[in-house]
């Protein structure tokens, strides 16, 4: 029986190894300086890169963070500090359910609230969609990490005569900082690879991005567009893009992992 379960565990991680092998094999040759610095070439011309898509992804992530992080962290603070019984339960539940809503549905939401009123696809709409995906993750991690802060610290600060909000901002949040950063990075890793909600919000763009109310390129969108196109050269670029994207996601995940390691030493 033990052997069977060990085999299952192997089967779960095997695709990762296969995937990584193929990515390196197919994509490494197309990851070069041009890839990071050039715009895509028109069909038929070899070469070019995904510089605009990489920058676009970074802009979208920053936009999502600017919208989603303050709300998520403040909401998490509310969940830990509130003495209310029912509302925190409801919010926790809604957050967990929202976390399971398909990202494409969140894309439709961003379409109805941003694209329709503005009458155009835009970076802003993409940012809103990604922010909605980040929100429940950041909210719940912030809550969990703040709960790990011992009550004695909170009491020590209160006994010094500090108002509650200063206790939270200057003592509790800094103590939980490492854990909250982890949550933020998990959220970033998640949205960095999101494609579906960007299809009809950020839309994609073959050129440099100009303004937040204009369509914007994103690495996952570009990979998708190139993968389903019938040109070998584009396929190579798609593999390269996937390699860069996955490296980005794994690096952020790894960083999150390392930050978590610090969390126990900080709290206990």
């Amino acid at each position: 029986m033990s052997a069977l379960t060990a085999g299952s565990a192997l089967a779960v991680v095997l695709p990762l190894i296969l995937l990584f092998g193929f990515l390196l094999h197919q994509g490494a040759s197309a990851v070069n300086v041009d890839f990071f610095t050039r715009l895509p070439k028109p069909v038929g011309e070899a070469g070019g890169g995904m510089a605009n898509a990489i920058v676009g992804s970074l802009i979208l992530i920053a936009l999502a963070g600017a919208l989603g992080l303050p709300l998520g962290i403040l909401g998490g603070v509310y969940l830990t500090e509130s003495r209310d019984r029912r509302l925190p339960w409801l919010i926790r539940f809604v957050a967990d359910v929202l976390n399971g809503v398909p990202s494409i549905v969140i894309g439709i939401f961003a379409y109805t609230v941003v694209v329709l009123p503005m009458r155009r696809f835009s970076a802003l709409a993409g940012g809103v969609a990604l922010a909605v995906i980040m929100l429940p993750i950041v909210l719940r991690t912030t809550e969990e990490m703040m709960r790990l802060v011992p009550a004695s610290l909170r009491e020590a600060a209160l006994a010094l005569g500090l108002p509650e909000w200063k206790v939270i901002l200057r003592v509790v949040l800094p103590t939980a900082r490492a854990g909250i950063i982890t949550g933020v990075m998990v959220a970033i890793a998640r949205v960095a690879g999101e494609t579906a909600p960007l299809l009809f919000t950020a839309f994609g763009n073959r050129f440099w991005h100009q303004r937040l109310d204009q369509p914007i390129a994103a690495l996952p969108l570009q990979i998708f567009a190139y993968a389903i196109a019938p040109y070998d050269d584009w396929h190579r670029q798609a593999w390269a893009g996937a390699l860069v994207l996955i490296a980005l996601v794994f690096l952020v995940s790894l960083a999150a992992r390392i930050a978590t390691r610090g969390r126990y030493s900080a709290v206990r």
């Binding site: 779960v12 359910v97 399971g100 909000w165 998640r190 998708f224």
Partner: protein, 325 residues
């Protein structure tokens, strides 16, 4: 100074200080509460916005939308049955593959594996969960589908071809490819949540079984799995929720043909895929409405599945952490 006068001056100082400080606390509390409430506002806006946009389609087709299978944008006739069917079949196929593997891996990681090997494997499982959908899709198109077309489907056709499930020409892309890619994507998720559930089973349960002379596997079976049963069902449901809404990888390997076919070799289409493919082409309100109605349906189904799953997972040791991606 008399005591009374001192008391009066002291308390008046206190009262005036309060006006300033209390203001900071109230503002902060208000902000935090507002942030939390924004979540509920968001979900409400989501439902209202989507319901509003789906209205033209709902008016035109009513419940017929769910059980008719004509999808003709030119004639503006829309029935979502092929997509509902494709979503259900690909997700069920994924569960059939992923549940035994995921539970097995979780049992290994939580109960049976040597302690030193647990953290690295757990981390690898987390990494599989972090692989973006579009990357799996890319791999599906160029690696999985050709492999299925050249090796797996001919072999299945030759051995099990008497079943209608395994008949027809081997395209590679199709329902089978979608089910496999979905299984790969949800299995780390099921593993992670199941592992958390198993870890939340109190040690006294294990000790009780061990005290009866049970082996480690027997302990797992009679004490741990039974105790964690509802949580494990929750984990499976969470996986199902993911599979139902998964978009990019499925879109890239399922073949995107709106037909109801019995064979797993045949191409299909899912609810999420049709939205991904056709949303930007939908020019009329009715066409867009039909797509958004599919989105609303997907939303409703995943909310129900997730809500059920959360309640089940929470029921086993309230401290089970929620697992993302």
């Amino acid at each position: 100074m008399t005591t009374a006068a001192a008391s009066r001056s002291l308390s008046s100082a206190v009262v005036s200080a309060r006006a300033r400080r209390g203001w900071g606390d109230r503002l902060f509390r208000g902000l935090a509460r507002g942030a939390a409430l924004s979540l509920i506002l968001l979900v409400t806006a989501m439902i209202i916005g989507m319901a509003g946009a789906a209205m033209p389609s709902f008016r035109a087709f009513g419940w017929r939308f769910l059980y008719t299978s004509t999808w003709d944008p030119v004639a503006e006739t829309f029935g979502a049955l092929p997509f509902v069917y494709g979503t259900l079949v690909s997700s069920l196929l994924a569960l059939v593959i992923a549940v035994p593997l995921g539970l097995g891996a979780a049992i290994f990681l939580a109960e049976l594996a040597p302690v030193w090997i647990r953290p690295p494997i757990t981390f690898l499982v987390e990494l599989v969960a972090a692989v973006p959908s579009v990357v799996f899709g890319l791999w599906g198109i160029f690696v999985l589908a050709p492999w299925l077309r050249n090796w797996v489907q001919p072999a299945l056709g030759a051995s099990l071809g008497f079943l209608p499930l395994f008949q027809g020409p081997p395209y590679g892309v199709g329902m089978l490819a979608a089910g496999i890619i979905l299984a790969i994507m949800i299995v780390p998720f099921i593993t992670a949540v199941s592992r958390e559930v198993l870890l939340a089973v109190p040690n006294t349960q294990r000790e009780a079984a061990l005290g009866l002379g049970a082996t480690r596997w027997e302990t797992t079976r009679i004490a741990v799995l039974r105790y964690g049963k509802s949580g494990l069902i929750g984990a499976v449901l969470l996986g199902l929720g993911r599979a139902l809404g998964e978009t990019m990888a499925v879109t890239m390997v399922i073949g995107n043909r709106p037909e109801v076919a019995i064979s797993l070799f045949a191409p299909g289409y899912t609810m999420a895929s049709v939205i991904a493919n056709e949303f930007t082409e939908a020019t009329s309100d009715l066409y867009l409405g039909a797509l958004i109605e599919i989105g609303l349906l997907l939303f409703a189904v995943t909310v129900i599945v997730n809500a059920l799953a959360r309640l089940l997972v929470w029921s086993v040791g309230g401290a089970v952490k929620q697992v993302r991606e």
